[in-house]
């Protein structure tokens, strides 16, 4: 019982109706998050990270979306959970920090009204207490003059301040799971460090689990213990962070890490993964990365299942055979 995961996602697949047809945006996404665990999700832009997070809270447009598979959370399947039940989960047990704070905040209400609303949905407090608690929450994410910000409208705040306001809203009910979608990209690194400390502290103190979606591999390295790599709607690798950074097992993970500016000279062309992700309509049945992979073999054209290799789970025909470079410079790797 004690090692039952807090969140157990199995075979999650999301498809959209667009232009008269339906496209599978994600397929066979499986992963688990233990209570208090900090898991990072990285991957190519458009591979399905955000929609995976949104689907867990039932926030995708119902009319054009179909979700299959299951996501067990505290004994309930979040997929297809009735709205009346979902209301108790959203904001209280699972909260999400959205990628685009400006779109997630309502432009016609002040920041204070929006935090107050969350507080009063889940707790019995009066207006005055709600205000105090909201200002406290704003101060805890490092917002200067929290009272001014409390009474401001979103457009009057800088990008980073909106982001912190969103984080304050997400944390105010002390959730069991926090899905943070690019929570710190709009922040300078000193504030980012402060927010990361806040999240780590929260996770240590209250056992809040984190699902951290970001393109910032440095943030993943410093915040998470596990890293899930997604490509074209699938999980291609799931591994302990330190191991994934040093010796990734999937060619896409390796290609991503090799594109980091820290590995090239200032001003030089940056290496990147040649080619482009296949379109959702023309997804190959075999390895989805094959078209761009330097290690491709004939057998890669067959469907690839995700399999265990040591501490890594990898979706690659040649797993166990390839030795791929990670985020280390040659000098660091030699040391």
């Amino acid at each position: 019982m004690s090692d039952a995961p807090l969140l157990d996602v199995r075979g999650l697949g999301i498809s959209f109706l667009i232009g008269g047809g339906s496209v599978h945006a994600t397929q066979d996404v499986s992963f688990a998050v233990q209570p208090g665990e900090r898991v990072g999700i990285v991957g190519e832009s458009g591979c399905g990270k955000t929609i995976t997070g949104l689907s867990l809270l039932g926030l995708l447009p119902a009319a054009t979306t179909r979700v299959v598979g299951q996501a067990m959370f505290e004994g309930e399947n979040l997929v297809g959970l009735p709205l009346s039940r979902m209301r108790h989960v959203r904001g209280r047990k699972i909260s999400m920090i959205f990628q685009e704070p400006m779109s997630a905040l309502d432009p016609v209400f002040t920041i204070g009204q929006q935090i107050g609303e969350t507080i009063r949905t889940h707790f019995k407090v009066d207006k005055k207490q709600a205000r105090e608690r909201a200002i406290e929450a704003l101060a805890s994410v490092g917002i200067p003059s929290p009272a001014r910000v409390h009474d401001s409208y979103p457009h009057q705040l800088s990008g980073g301040m909106r982001q912190r306001a969103m984080i304050a809203i997400a944390l105010v009910c002390e959730p069991r799971l926090l899905i943070a979608d690019e929570p710190t990209t709009a922040l300078d690194v000193t504030i980012q460090a402060q927010i990361i400390d806040l999240l780590l502290d929260l996770s240590a103190r209250q056992g809040t689990a984190l699902l951290f979606i970001t393109h910032d591999l440095g943030v993943i390295a410093e915040t998470c213990t596990r890293m899930i790599t997604m490509y074209a709607g699938q999980v291609v690798e799931d591994a302990p962070v330190d191991s994934a950074l040093v010796r990734p097992r999937h060619p896409y993970t390796s290609g991503l890490l090799r594109s980091l500016p820290r590995l090239s000279a200032r001003g030089a062309m940056l290496p990147s993964i040649a080619g482009r992700v296949p379109t959702l309509r023309d997804m190959p049945t075999g390895c989805r990365f094959a078209e761009r992979c330097a290690h491709r073999q004939e057998a890669c054209a067959a469907p690839q299942a995700i399999e265990q290799e040591g501490a890594h789970q990898v979706r690659c025909w040649r797993q166990g055979e390839l030795v791929l470079p990670g985020a280390l410079t040659d000098r660091e790797a030699a040391a």
Binding site: P144, S145, L157, T185, A186, V189, H215
Partner: protein, 336 residues
């Protein structure tokens, strides 16, 4: 000696607060020049005024005080028709990818829109240019028929980039444009920016929180804190020998994608309240969080001075505090 293409002189921009009793000094006396073909990086605190500065450079905000000259001309001295014509050459890619996208417009229409407004060439030729740009930012043609709500964050950001590139501006303010992109696509976009710069002599003002990115692409960097520049100079020198304690704190806080056993724990944690831009601290505005602050820092505002050739800084103890004492001879050698 070429003339600067952007010249910012003692720029100040203020906003009233919601209750109108105070003013936010978003940009509070900033001066710098950007040369044609240069990439000028701006880093700094969240809320320090970077986006406000960027918007002022492309005439989306009028200076409260001071001046921005574009190609040597104060745009606000021009008749409005002339101003509109010239503004085309000065574009901004916004931090919020939704800001410039009309939710009811398809992607291809959005990319073509700026060209439609200018009205150059036939509709077909404009569509062709838009399609090419879609391709160059790494999106397949099928994306042209989509709408913004059907796109991921990074896909939207690339549409914004394509939109601005179609009009072939001479200056682009890039406000956090690559943060939403994965590292491989980010590399492609940065390479594309560099390619266009070589091809057309484009000038960039590059606002970002990503120190790895800014020091890779910029020739010079300015560090902003609470409406003012703290330090400005060549990118490599700022990254390797910061003179201002705030710059040093920023550099030390950069998260490094290395396993825990290989990361040095040399982070400088800034203590103290982040001051409010309505009422910045007396003297040096970084003093409430500066680990090296002395009495003089509260009583006297440090002057903005050229501490070594090309290296500007505002700190009473510049270099000394950061362990990189200013030695004009070595600095000169490094710049040469």
């Amino acid at each position: 000696m070429t003339a600067p293409i952007v010249s910012v002189d003692e720029l100040r921009i203020r906003f009233p607060t919601q209750d109108r009793r105070e003013t936010v000094k978003a940009v509070d006396g900033v001066s710098f020049d950007v040369m044609p073909g240069e990439t000028f990086g701006i880093i700094g605190e969240s809320g320090s005024g970077k986006s406000t500065l960027g918007r002022a450079v492309v005439c989306l905000l009028k200076p409260t005080e001071g001046q921005v000259r574009l190609g040597g001309i104060d745009p606000y001295s021009l008749p409005s028709a002339e101003l509109r014509r010239r503004r085309r050459a000065f574009q901004i890619i916004f931090q919020d990818p939704n800001a410039a996208l009309n939710p009811r417009m398809s992607v291809i229409d959005s990319i073509r829109e700026p060209l439609d407004i200018i009205g150059e060439g036939s509709r077909d030729s404009r569509t062709r240019i838009a399609r090419e740009m879609l391709e160059r930012v790494g999106l397949r043609p099928e994306f042209g028929q989509r709408y913004p709500h059907e796109l991921s964050g990074g896909q939207k950001q690339r549409i914004n980039i394509a939109r601005v590139l179609t009009v072939r501006p001479s200056v682009i303010v890039c406000d956090e444009v690559v943060a939403a992109l994965d590292v491989s696509i980010r590399a492609d976009i940065l390479n594309l920016f560099a390619e266009l710069q070589r091809e057309f002599g484009l000038t960039y003002l590059f606002i970002t929180h990503d120190l790895g990115v800014v020091s890779h692409v910029s020739s010079r960097i300015a560090v902003m804190y609470l409406g003012k520049f703290m330090e400005m100079g060549p990118a490599d020198e700022i990254a390797e020998r910061p003179l201002h304690p705030y710059t040093q704190a920023l550099l030390s806080a950069e998260p490094i994608p290395l396993p825990s056993s290989m990361r040095a724990t040399r982070r400088i944690i800034l203590q103290g309240e982040i001051p409010s831009p309505t009422n910045p601290p007396s003297g040096c505005r970084f003093r409430t969080r500066c680990p090296h602050a002395q009495a003089v820092c509260a009583s006297e505002m440090p002057a903005w001075r050229e501490a070594a050739p090309g290296r500007f800084v505002a700190c009473h103890f510049a270099g000394e505090a950061t362990g990189h004492p200013i030695d004009p001879t070595t600095t000169q050698e490094a710049t040469a």
